[in-house]
């Protein structure tokens, strides 16, 4: 048997007082156990005089710590409310996550630069660069900026809606009219 199994068997009989007989090889354990069980064989040292008085004097100057149970639940509930609000906002206005770029599955084939002759596309107007200043009218600029401005408006609305959702659940006693005016 391993030492752990021996220890379990011996302590079960000697310390847990479970019924059972120990083998002959554990007779020294039983002898030591029997000798140590005698309380009079213990060597007690007397504590220093006045120790309990000194302890009580110090104890009388110390207040027991009181249990402060409110900070943790308050923090947890605030975190929960904030998290749920953000989740609701995100669910009502889903945004597209950027698509991960898939790594190339096969070996990368390097095509030599001069493998094929470079043929210019036939429909390129060579005078396009010289005519660009003519296309800088406001309508053209607005058509370029329109998609970006739409994105900016959507982000601003999302932010404002999330802000109202969080603030309305906090016990700040602010009027919602004031919040809407912000």
């Amino acid at each position: 048997m391993s030492e752990v199994q021996d220890a379990a068997a011996v302590t079960a009989v000697l310390d847990d007082c479970l019924p059972g007989m120990l083998g002959e090889e554990f007779a020294p354990h039983e002898a030591v156990h029997a000798a140590l069980l005698d309380k009079h064989s213990l060597t007690w040292s007397r504590p220093p005089a006045g120790l309990s008085e000194r302890v009580l004097l110090r104890v009388s100057l110390v207040r027991p710590e009181r249990v402060r149970r409110w900070p943790v639940p308050l923090a947890a509930s605030l975190l929960l409310v904030g998290g749920l609000s953000l989740l609701l906002v995100r669910l009502s206005h889903p945004t597209l996550a950027p698509q991960p770029v898939a790594p190339p599955s096969g070996p990368v084939v390097v095509v030599p630069v001069h493998a094929a002759p470079v043929v210019p596309p036939p429909d390129i107007d060579p005078g396009v660069l010289t005519r660009l200043p003519e296309r800088s009218e406001p309508a053209f600029a607005a058509s370029l900026e329109r998609p970006f401005m739409g994105q900016v408006d959507a982000i601003a609305q999302d932010t404002q809606r999330g802000f109202h959702a969080v603030i309305s659940r906090l016990p700040l006693r602010l009027s919602m009219d004031v919040l809407r005016a912000m």
Binding site: T11, H29, K39, S41, S45, P47, V59
Partner: protein, 222 residues
């Protein structure tokens, strides 16, 4: 004739009849008298426990005070699922670990230098009591601090394996192995010293001398 008021006498009499767990519950309600009764009951037991965990009486005294103060500060944390002594000794054991981290002990404490009741001489065991005292003396010299403490909690404090494991912060299996090895080591060492003593007696008729680690040379008569 006592000058204390009758209600105070009644209070102290009722406190004396209460269990440590009941006193701890009263102390948790703010009763300093109940805690004072706990201090008086556990002062000696705690001091002797700490004496076996530290290397000096001064350290044991300081830690005894610290343990009681910590227990008073945290008395509301005590749950009566465990005996009060187990909870108190757990605090003491943890404070001792912090104490050892801060300062390494310079000398190993020797029970024979400090004992109020002297250990009986090593030699032919006359009865079980003499053997028990010899074994405790041996335990202070040859066992490691955790083994010695486990043995003390088991036999001096009558703690179960589960309670010892809680106090020492070990698993139950660990405590079982610790007690098993401690008793085995004590049996072997006691047998060795007993045989050495007999051989020495037969040859020289003089007392054998054992050198304690870190302590003075002690002559032991047979």
């Amino acid at each position: 004739m006592s000058s204390s008021p009758p209600n105070l006498r009644l209070e102290s009499r009722s406190l004396a009849s209460r269990t440590p767990e009941q006193l701890a519950a009263r102390a948790a309600e703010g009763s300093l008298d109940a805690f004072g009764e706990l201090v008086r009951r556990f002062e000696s037991r705690l001091f002797n426990f700490l004496l076996r965990r530290t290397s000096a009486r001064a350290d044991a005294e300081d830690l005894t005070q610290e343990t009681f103060i910590r227990a008073w500060e945290r008395i509301h944390c005590y749950k009566p699922d465990w005996r009060f002594s187990t909870w108190l000794f757990t605090i003491a054991a943890r404070l001792t670990i912090s104490h050892h981290r801060k300062r390494r002990p310079s000398l190993r404490w020797s029970i024979d230098e400090d004992a109020d009741s002297p250990a009986p001489p090593v030699g032919e065991p006359t009865d079980e009591r003499a053997t028990g005292a010899q074994l405790w003396s041996l335990a202070a010299r040859v066992l490691g601090p955790d083994q010695h403490t486990a043995l003390w909690l088991r036999y001096a404090e009558d703690m179960s394996i589960d309670e010892i494991a809680r106090v020492l912060g070990k698993s139950q299996v660990g405590v079982r192995v610790m007690l098993f090895r401690a008793r085995q080591l004590l049996a072997e060492q006691h047998q060795l010293e007993h045989e050495a003593s007999r051989v020495y007696d037969a040859k020289a008729g003089k007392a054998p001398v054992f050198r304690r680690p870190g302590g003075p040379v002690a002559g032991v008569t047979t």
